[in-house]
């Protein structure tokens, strides 16, 4: 594969490490989320209440794209944001604390898992599908006006690509040659609705033609393929050549959100067999990039980092009810 030759061994190892870190994080969230909601699952109960959209299976997208970014670049993610946030370098402690609703969290507990805002890495996400795209245009606009080569990456799901904001954003970005890369995570499902029931074309990459921008589809959910495609698109954006669209055919390994029984899901039996992490591990071992034992060490290191973040979150203070009205406005108060 050409992608394999383009990447040095240490780069490949880093990609793998990051994928493992993300998966380890999501597994910890899975555990923590369900730890105190039974008997009788109650979505509002426990240390991590509310909806929880985990990203297991979609690590190749986050990791393959973010490998080309620095924290000076902006990223807007979706309701399913953890993998992207981690890959982009959002502080794991502050992020975990936010998911636990703590005062030390990214949003001091006001935001929650769908509302992670990190000005340090120019990262944000939104619970309204496709509505993270327009703000990315503005970040790209600011970068362009400042004559930098910084870029913005806007992520969306394949189901969300049928929202009006997608169309408007791609058109405006193309027209103003904004340094944005649009990344569509096609995990085949929008909650319970399969892609074929939401999207009139087989590939969103075909929709790039509607804006005169490059569009590619990565079919294999392999981090190196994503890396390759993202490298080209981000390179174009940095060079002032305008936006691109990348769709990755990825995999939703778990439910849409936690508690989703997935009774609607025809492909459930095959899902586990397509997990991209063992596949990549095996390839790296076969290529001699890592040894058998390395994978476990990588996993252990990831676990240490994740558990540190979880412990930090749990030890952090909960926000005071007295402060509930703080931060509506930056200045002045409500009358």
């Amino acid at each position: 594969m050409t992608t394999q030759t383009a990447l040095a061994a240490d780069q490949r190892r880093e990609l793998f490490e990051m994928m493992v870190l993300i998966r380890t994080f999501e597994e910890a969230m899975l555990r923590e989320y369900h730890a105190d909601k039974s008997p009788g699952f109650d979505i509002g109960a426990g240390l991590v209440p509310g909806e929880m959209h985990l990203s297991a299976g979609q690590e190749p997208v986050a990791v393959g794209v973010a490998a080309h970014l620095t924290t000076d670049d902006a990223v807007t993610a979706t309701h399913r944001p953890h993998h992207i946030a981690i890959a982009h370098g959002v502080d794991m402690r502050a992020m975990t604390a936010e998911i636990f609703g703590r005062e030390t969290g990214l949003g001091r507990g006001r935001g929650g898992h769908m509302h992670l805002f990190d000005p340090k890495t120019h990262f944000s996400c939104s619970g309204i599908i496709a509505e993270g795209l327009p703000p990315a245009l503005g970040q790209a606009f600011a970068f362009q006006r400042a004559a930098t080569d910084r870029v913005a990456v806007a992520v969306t799901g394949e189901g969300s690509a049928n929202q009006g904001a997608f169309h408007e954003s791609l058109n405006l970005a193309a027209l103003w040659k904004l340094p944005v890369v649009f990344v569509v995570e096609d995990n085949d499902w929008g909650i319970s609705v399969p892609r074929a029931a939401s999207t009139s074309v087989p590939s969103n990459a075909d929709r790039a033609a509607a804006y005169g921008i490059p569009g590619v589809r990565v079919e294999d959910n392999a981090v190196e393929s994503v890396w390759q495609a993202a490298g080209e698109a981000i390179g174009r954006a940095r060079a002032g050549e305008g936006p691109s669209l990348i769709e990755v055919h990825t995999l939703r390994l778990w439910g849409h959100f936690e508690g989703d029984a997935q009774g609607y899901r025809s492909d459930l039996a095959e899902v586990a067999g397509h997990d991209p992490i063992p596949t990549y591990r095996d390839a790296l071992i076969a290529d001699g990039v890592i040894a058998e034992g390395d994978a476990e060490a990588i996993r252990a290191a990831a676990s240490d980092r994740v558990e540190d973040a979880v412990a930090y979150a749990k030890a952090s203070p909960v926000p005071s009810a007295d402060d509930a009205l703080k931060y509506v406005f930056a200045e002045g108060a409500r009358a």
Partner: protein, 350 residues
């Protein structure tokens, strides 16, 4: 199919205790199913209303009986599929369109408030839009600022759509039947916390007696959920239950609270509010929507302008103009909880 048709002027008789009990979600499903059997023109469209059965179970099982031609999963394109409802209604169908969370109205409100709600007027009454827009509201389970809003004040402020907000299974079924049969667009807002879902904290009254046959609860009529003589609480949706709980509790202390469940906010049953306040002269409005420029102000102002000297006390328990916070401690500080309601009552009675 016989329909118990309730006249506009008479409140429906509540069923005897001991009759069949359903959750609010099941009551809604039943109303939909019965209307769909009776009227070929009724269909349901929205995100995940098919095999999934609606994220908050408003359509569970309907696809099994009615199939994918009448229970339609849509793309995540609210503007397109709400507009589709409008066009189908204009052509004489009776669409029920689900907007999964009311919080998503911002992506499709033009279809709702500038089209669904205005076509009848702009056409001088020549074009009717008999559709139901059903949507989930409310918080209390840490779903954050974009998935926990009530927002009914925003819909009610803009003319041309009726807005109904049931608090219990009986009203939920009767209002859904009335909404589908109405020749006007009706926004049907169910609070997740009154649906009686297995996976969310719920008030016991979200499961209750529901007649098996079709019946209507009239749109625009409030209900006195509890009679009392000392103070009036005007409220709606989940807050009805919190208010009733507080009323039960304070009854022991000799505070006799009247609880008015609005059920509809457009049309608003202003007479029912006045009637109650004439008795008590003290008014608390309890509302899970944002406080300012919304329902709470409207209710108090209605009394103040109609009978300026009447009120000896007016106050509100609502979300104090802040986005709904994620952390439980913060969210419960801004929701109209029983504790806040109780405190407001005590202050009023002091």
């Amino acid at each position: 199919m016989t329909i118990v048709s309730v006249q506009d002027t008479a409140l429906p008789v509540e069923p005897e205790p001991g009759t069949r009990r359903l959750s609010t979600a099941k009551a809604i499903q039943e109303a939909l199913a019965q209307r769909m059997r009776a009227d070929e023109g009724v269909f349901v469209a929205g995100e995940d209303v098919g095999p999934y059965g609606g994220i908050f179970s408003s359509t569970t099982g309907l696809i099994d009986e009615f199939g994918p031609q009448r229970i339609l999963d849509t793309p995540i394109s609210e503007t397109a599929f709400i507009g589709l409802g409008i066009g189908a209604a204009v052509e004489g169908m009776r669409p029920v369109i689900e907007l999964m969370f009311v919080d998503f109205f911002g992506v499709c409100f033009d279809q709702i408030y500038n089209h669904m709600a205005k076509i009848h007027y702009e056409s001088g009454g020549n074009v009717r839009v008999p559709m139901v827009l059903m949507t989930a509201t409310g918080g209390g389970y840490s779903d954050g600022a974009q998935h926990s809003q009530s927002l009914w004040g925003t819909f009610a402020h803009l003319p041309g759509m009726k807005v109904v907000v049931p608090s219990n299974p009986y009203d939920a079924k009767g209002l859904m039947t009335a909404a589908i049969r109405s020749d006007d667009p009706v926004v049907y807002m169910f609070h997740k916390g009154v649906m009686g879902l297995g996976w969310m904290k719920k008030n016991p009254r979200s499961i209750g007696a529901v007649p098996a046959e079709e019946y209507e609860v009239p749109i625009g009529k409030a209900r006195v959920a509890r009679e009392g003589k000392d103070i009036t609480i005007v409220t709606l949706s989940l807050s009805v239950h919190h208010s009733l709980d507080v009323a039960e509790k304070l009854a022991g202390e000799g505070i006799d609270i009247e609880v008015v469940d609005l059920r509809s906010i457009v049309p608003l049953d202003r007479d029912a509010i006045l009637e109650s306040v004439r008795k008590t002269r003290k008014l608390i409005v309890v509302d899970e929507d944002y406080q300012s420029f919304g329902l709470t102000g409207e209710i108090i102002a209605t009394v103040a302008e109609r009978e300026p000297g009447l009120l000896t006390h007016a106050s509100r328990v609502a979300v104090p103009d802040v986005p709904i916070p994620y952390a439980r401690e913060l969210e419960y500080a801004v929701l109209p909880t029983p504790a806040r309601i109780e405190a407001a009552v005590r202050e009023a009675m002091a």
